[in-house]
Symmetry: C2
Subunit: 198 residues, 2 copies
């Protein structure tokens, strides 16, 4: 509008999730008017992260080291392996703070229609881990979507054949969730997965 550089910056900020034109404008103005040091720091972090961050050799999450912080942590329980779809899922579980085992990140889910088969989600590497590590239980935390369920089913078949206990995290009404605001699919699942009170 009054400056090509600012227009370009506003356009570039749109690569961030849920940043529309209005937010991008507010961000550009805020940085240029009040936080140029923060803007330079952000630029520096972006470049270093893009150049440095790759995949953990063992679990495939994002890290700049050969092994991520969880995989290299000898105090984690290596008899438990939680299987998730994305590194963001690992972050979410870590922030919940109660899980003490290790992870394996599929980086996706089975989707025959998109040509995504077992080899694309690291099943070979997962089976190798089951072989090499003292894993006794696999906790399947793929998403409760059709593809996530199919992926969970596929892995459970393989793991049970290897003699390993397989569990699936519970799905249902979130704690503190009000029934009237829960979507129908979740409610239906919550009913069909109901348990007897003992």
């Amino acid at each position: 509008m009054f400056s090509p550089l600012i227009d370009e910056l506003m356009a570039a900020l749109r690569c961030l999730p849920s940043v529309g034109p209005k937010s991008a404008q507010r961000m550009a103005m805020q940085l240029l008017e009040h936080d140029r040091a923060g803007a330079l720091k952000l630029a520096d972090c972006l470049v270093r992260a893009v150049e440095g961050v790759e995949r953990c050799q063992r679990c495939r999450t994002l890290t700049e080291q050969e092994l991520c912080g969880v995989c290299s942590n000898t105090r984690r329980d290596n008899t438990l392996l939680c299987v998730v779809e994305t590194p963001a899922d690992v972050l979410a579980i870590e922030q919940a703070g109660s899980y003490q085992g290790k992870y394996f990140v599929l980086l996706g889910h089975l989707s025959p229609i998109d040509g995504i088969g077992p080899e694309d989600i690291g099943i070979d590497q997962l089976l190798m881990l089951l072989d090499q590590e003292p894993i006794t239980e696999i906790i399947l935390a793929t998403n409760p979507t059709m593809e996530g369920e199919a992926t969970a089913y596929y892995i459970s078949e393989k793991a049970q054949r290897a003699g390993i206990t397989v569990t699936r995290i519970a799905h249902g009404v979130p704690l503190g969730g009000e029934l009237e605001y829960i979507d129908g699919g979740t409610l239906a699942h919550a009913f069909s997965s109901r348990r007897a009170i003992t």
Copy 2:
């Protein structure tokens, strides 16, 4: 958490307005997993904007040129001068698309309690413009806060003494605004500024 570089990136993203820990995390994951090219482009734009963008010599908005796009546009009406507090205000008015005159940006407002006097908001430069340019009307678009009103009053005194027409943009209930959701101050102002239907 599992990577110092990612933690640093998430912290750096917090310099963006209304980006909390959860959004910063989502942004970092999205960029590293799905848009590394976008991340590098953003870093590049940040650095070039911080290094290149300064103030327009005439109106004090943000630009990397000596004169901003509005000031250097000979098709704008240079008998109208709209006075605003910030470059973001200029952007907002430009996006509304109906104003065809020029601007002057105060970069703040009078605030004796914070030691901000006329010299800090460029009043000298503003008076010089009134002297050098064929301005016939000043439109005061400072914010409808106590400081914004005081600043508008101060400028109107100076400009009227120079024989220039001074106007203030209208404040009241926004078009499409529902009365029940409008704050009390705005409503009170809308009532006290009511006009006879002619």
